[in-house]
Amino acid sequence: SQKIEQNSEALNIQEGKTATLTCNYTNYSPAYLQWYRQDPGRGPVFLLLIRENEKEKRKERLKVTFDTTLKQSLFHITASQPADSATYLCAFHGSGNTGKLIFGQGTTLQVKP
């Protein structure tokens, strides 16, 4: 079955450093991947989308890469800040169904001042 995996261990980094989160997928070749941010007690908020023909996508301090050979997406936050502390989820659409998103379990990022 289609599966998407993220590091379940929390990532702790120092303020100002670059955070890198990993998303791996199996048994599927999605046309695009999405990244969401989720704060405690809130629903996920869409951040970035990258298509299979795009190697890299940037938005302010965020950068996403998509390697269809490795079946992997990397999510980078440069010059990280304590306000970036949250859980980050990657997701893609399952085959055949518009709107059905398959989510990874999320990686919690903690940025320490």
Binding site: G41, A91, Q105
Partner: protein, 116 residues
């Protein structure tokens, strides 16, 4: 963008009872989605609700346990029936970002359900 509200934000319920969760969107949307997020787990789609038709349920979810209503283009309800402690979870509704060329979604704040 779409603004989504959910009621209640949280509840503590007794085993065997039912809870209905409401989802209100500030604009008309065709499809609404209901997800479950169990503690420490990823979001899992329960069902897709289209206005004017029966909801489409994902594998492992059935209408008797999770009846859904979609009376108009801005509102939906999800009922968690005959609850057990295993139903303790966060329940989220979402809608598609129809203004985009791809299927990103807006999510409500979620309803945190605890079943004793």
């Amino acid at each position: 963008s779409a603004v989504i509200s959910q009621k209640p934000s949280r509840d503590i319920c007794q085993r065997g009872t039912s809870l209905t969760i409401q989802c209100q969107v500030d604009s008309q949307v065709t499809m609404m989605f209901w997800y479950r997020q169990q503690p420490g787990q990823s979001l899992t789609l329960i069902a897709t609700a289209n206005q004017g038709s029966e909801a489409t349920y994902e594998s492992g979810f059935v209408i008797d346990k999770f009846p859904i209503s979609r009376p108009n283009l801005t509102f939906s309800t999800l009922t968690v029936s005959n609850m057990s402690p295993e139903d303790s979870s966060i329940y989220l509704c979402s809608v598609e970002n129809t203004g985009a060329s791809t299927d990103t979604q807006y999510f409500g704040p979620g309803t945190r359900l605890t079943v004793l």
